[in-house]
């Protein structure tokens, strides 16, 4: 692939991951939605029942102004999450320089939204989303749709 296009795609991807919908962390979780339930579930309801994306941005800025952005999201889910919204949009500063060379999503990480211009590819009976050079596998996590970054399927 043409290098500049590849860079553009990567930058777009990271910009999306960086300043696209960011899920505000709900430190206190959300309200319990049932009276009954095992102790485990009750404990989890209060800690990590909701679908949060905990995003760690590690921006390593080199002298040559390359920026490596590693985006890793831990999606913690337990219990259903009914009536709840999932997304509180917040503004976060993008950390990507315009000319940056960027390493995009890490295999094994999850995102809740896809970058634009993805193509659905069905391979071996599984649905993938190919977005530039990055491949995503849609999965339900609890009742939430997430996209797991995977190696290119063969």
């Amino acid at each position: 692939m043409n290098r500049s296009i590849q860079n553009l795609l990567s930058i777009t991807l990271v910009l999306l991951l960086s300043c696209g919908p960011i899920f505000a962390q709900r430190g206190g979780g959300s309200a319990r939605t049932s009276v009954n339930g095992n102790a485990n579930r009750n404990a989890n309801v209060n800690s990590n029942k909701n679908v949060n994306a905990n995003i760690n941005h590690n921006a390593n800025v080199n002298v040559n102004k390359n920026v490596n952005v590693n985006v890793h999201q831990d999606v913690n889910v337990h219990g259903g999450y009914y009536g709840g919204g999932c997304c509180y949009h917040t503004n976060t500063a993008a950390v990507v320089a315009a000319t940056a060379i960027v390493t995009a999503a890490v295999i094994g990480s999850r995102v809740n939204t896809l970058p634009p211009a993805c193509t659905v590819v069905i391979m071996n009976g599984l649905t993938y989303q190919q977005c530039g050079t990055t491949w995503y596998q849609p999965q339900f996590v609890g009742t939430t749709t997430t996209y797991l970054v995977v190696a290119a399927p063969r």
């Binding site: 505000a24 962390q25 709900r26 430190g27 206190g28 979780g29 959300s30 309200a31 319990r32 939605t33 049932s34 009276v35 009954n36 339930g37 095992n38 102790a39 579930r41 009750n42 309801v45 209060n46 990590n48 029942k49 909701n50 831990d74 999606v75 913690n76 889910v77 337990h78 219990g79 259903g80 999450y81 009914y82 009536g83 709840g84 919204g85 999932c86 997304c87 509180y88 094994g108 990480s109 999850r110 659905v120 069905i122 009976g125 599984l126 649905t127 596998q137 849609p138 999965q139 339900f140 996590v141 609890g142 009742t143 939430t144 749709t145 997430t146 797991l148 995977v150």
Partner: protein, 264 residues
């Protein structure tokens, strides 16, 4: 009001009948036996319902990092035919999901994203509730309606306070309002008066979060729903794509770091 000794005996025997293990017996003064009896009666009645449709108009508070609570709205429309059929539609501010269960498989379908996932399911709704919770981190919508009055319910033994608040009307129907306390949770319930002791409204306040987030449900019942058994089996619409559903890792030490490993 009954005399103290009688109260003690009544509560003790009531507790024993409800508790598998009675560790910390609550103080008599905090528990009104009439409130516990009403809850028990409702649970027993719920267990007699073979088929029902119930709609819940509900709200749920989320708590932001700064302690601010944000309320979101949702509607659940649930149709159940015991022991092995269930269909639920979950609509919230930014999500639409359909659940299908026909005694053989369980499907979750996201209509807006047009994704669905199907997994083999156990033979009863009760077992399905456990499987969804333990394997997939999904709490069955309106799960209390399936658990009150069942052996799986731990509600009664957890209650440390029970008050009969008095009469209250929900959607024009006469109800009795009760308030209960248990560890981490204060809750109120409005139970329909008369021959159909159904829960009509529920307010849950999570008390072990300083923000005290609330969840509310207002329930509308149909005890004679008409339905076709096909309603419980998922037929993928055109273009719907089958995807996986992530299994919850059994424990933090069993993380694989791959497909399902990042779920804690």
């Amino acid at each position: 009001m009954c005399k103290r000794l009688f109260c003690s005996i009544a509560i003790l025997s009531f507790s024993l009948s409800l508790m598998a293990q009675s560790s910390a017996a609550p103080k008599n003064a905090d528990i009104d036996p009439a409130a516990m009896a009403a809850l028990n009666k409702m649970g027993t009645y719920l267990r007699t319902l073979e088929t029902f449709q119930v709609k819940s108009v509900q709200t749920t508070d989320d708590v932001l990092d700064n302690g601010q609570t944000i309320q979101t709205n949702g509607v659940i429309d649930l149709l159940a035919a015991r022991p092995n059929r269930l269909r639920a539609e979950i609509t919230s501010d930014d999500m639409h999901r359909l659940f299908f269960y026909d005694g053989k498989s369980f499907t979750i379908f996201g209509q807006l994203v047009n994704y669905y996932a199907t997994v083999p399911a156990p033979p009863t709704i009760g077992e399905l509730i456990e499987k969804l919770d333990e394997h997939y981190g999904i709490e069955m919508p309106l799960v209390d309606l399936f658990l009150w009055g069942s052996p799986q319910s731990d509600s009664a033994k957890n209650i440390t306070g029970a008050i009969d608040i008095g009469p209250s009307s929900i959607d024009g129907t006469s109800c009795e309002q009760y308030a209960f306390r248990q560890a981490g949770l204060d809750w109120q319930i409005w139970i329909q008066l008369g021959d159909y002791p159904l829960p009509r409204k529920l307010i849950l306040t999570t008390t072990d979060d300083v923000a005290r987030p609330r969840h509310s449900q207002v329930l509308t019942w149909n005890l004679a729903p008409s339905f076709n058994v096909a309603a419980f089996t998922f037929e993928p619409p055109d273009g719907a794509q089958k995807i996986a559903i992530a299994e919850i890792a059994p424990s933090a030490s069993d993380q694989k770091g791959t497909q399902t490993g990042s779920l804690k």
